[in-house]
């Protein structure tokens, strides 16, 4: 298996300036809200979880050239095919050609408000004490040179093998790495780990007085 995410953009050069947008501009084509709604509605079916869908999107070969809702559409098609609930000839023809598969649940219009208000909390009861405490120094793994995880993970490359300090302790949360692989929630303690700009980018980078943090699950961290 060779897992490659194309979404880990933090620190990359050459993407140009940010183009601000007025507050009311939500969509830029009529199909975009439909993709948003389809993705949310299918996500509510219970076939896959949010980490599986993030993994499906970030591994799209053409991630870098697609717009965001194009990514969502391609990710949705990929999941529908992988879970066997839609067949390739149906995506091609735009018609249902085979019997429907059983799905755990369908989101009805009258259920939308409650489903959105409920959300999907990821905090879980901790089964063991936290390994780290506020103010403790830690180092993120894996060390430079070691293999990168061959699955969805949420430690950005720029924050890998860096020394930081535990700034917040969020309790135990569903572990994205296992959840994305369909291996269950395996809750782990989650921390905000803060790094200096110097630690991440070297002292030559011209931004004094900056601190950058990531939220990192305990397995990403070692004492330092």
């Amino acid at each position: 298996m060779n897992y490659q995410s194309h979404a880990d953009l933090g620190g990359q050069e050459g993407h140009g300036a940010v183009r601000p947008e007025p507050e009311g501009e939500l969509f830029h084509a009529a199909w975009e809200p439909r993709v948003l709604a389809l993705t949310l509605a299918m996500g509510a079916c219970g076939l896959w979880n949010i980490d599986i869908s993030r993994a499906a999107r970030e591994t799209l070969a053409d991630y870098r050239v697609l717009s965001y809702y194009q990514i969502w559409l391609a990710g949705l098609e990929k999941l529908l095919l992988r879970f066997g609930v839609v067949q390739p000839d149906e995506i091609k023809s735009g018609r249902s050609l085979h019997a429907a598969a059983g799905i755990p649940a369908m989101l009805r219009a009258d259920q939308v408000a409650a489903a959105l208000a409920r959300g999907a909390p990821t905090a879980r009861r901790a089964t063991q004490p936290a390994r780290f405490t506020l103010g403790q120094w830690v180092r993120t793994g894996p060390p430079a040179g070691a293999a990168t995880p061959q699955h969805h993970t949420r430690l950005p490359g720029y924050a890998r093998d860096k020394r930081g300090v535990i700034e917040r302790v969020h309790g135990a949360h569903v572990f994205a790495d296992s959840n994305a692989q369909g291996l269950g929630e395996q809750p782990q303690w989650l921390y905000t780990v803060a790094f200096t700009g110097d630690e991440l980018w070297g002292p030559a980078t011209p931004h004094p007085h900056s601190t950058i943090s990531v939220d990192a699950w305990e397995p990403y961290l070692e004492p330092s």
Partner: protein
């Protein structure tokens, strides 16, 4: 795109009326005016501000905003010495119940790539220049915690009502790429 919607509807996986409700919700009900109400309340009510900084999820829920992509909220306060900015370098994580859907730039490569490395350069793209002495704090939302920036209250606003104050709170000021407007 319509084609896929047709397939999923024909198969009975989606309720077309549910799609319309979802879109309408994010076009008319859930957006940055929610967050602006939270910020204005925090500016007016010291006790609410304390609760917001202590347990943002509960404080925000007390104003009726909660749920999807805001299940675990943290509010971070800007001061004269500290300026917070929020990003998701890995995808597009964003506090939906208070800010609605993320703007295109928030989801795009330039912002995600640059804000963790050159936050002052990104601020410049938004026309914002902060004094050199201000410390910049960038929060990369890499898990399911969502961050809301509590911007500084503009000067000379003591006479304004909470509703008038909310009008000064821009979406960008709650992400940290902007400041609240002067009255």
């Amino acid at each position: 795109m319509r084609a896929l919607e047709t397939v999923l509807t024909q198969k009975g996986y989606v309720d077309p009326a549910a799609l319309d409700v979802l879109i309408e919700t994010y076009q008319t009900k859930i957006g940055p005016r929610n967050g602006a109400r939270v910020v204005a309340r925090a500016w007016c009510d010291a006790e609410f501000r304390r609760r917001l900084l202590d347990d943002a999820t509960a404080a925000i829920a007390s104003l009726g905003f909660q749920g999807r992509q805001g299940e675990h909220m943290v509010a971070v306060e800007n001061t004269a010495e500290l300026h917070n900015m929020v990003v998701c370098t890995l995808c597009s994580c964003y506090p939906w119940p208070v800010l609605g859907l993320p703007p295109t730039w928030y989801k795009s490569a330039p912002y995600r790539a640059r804000v963790v490395k050159d936050p002052r350069g990104v601020l410049k793209d938004f026309g914002v220049t902060l004094p050199e002495a201000v410390r910049i704090r960038v929060w990369d939302s890499t898990a399911e915690v969502r961050y809301l920036v509590l911007p500084q209250r503009p000067a000379a606003t003591e006479h304004l009502t909470e509703t008038e104050l909310a009008d000064l709170v821009t979406r960008d000021s709650m992400i940290g790429t902007g400041l609240a407007r002067a009255p």
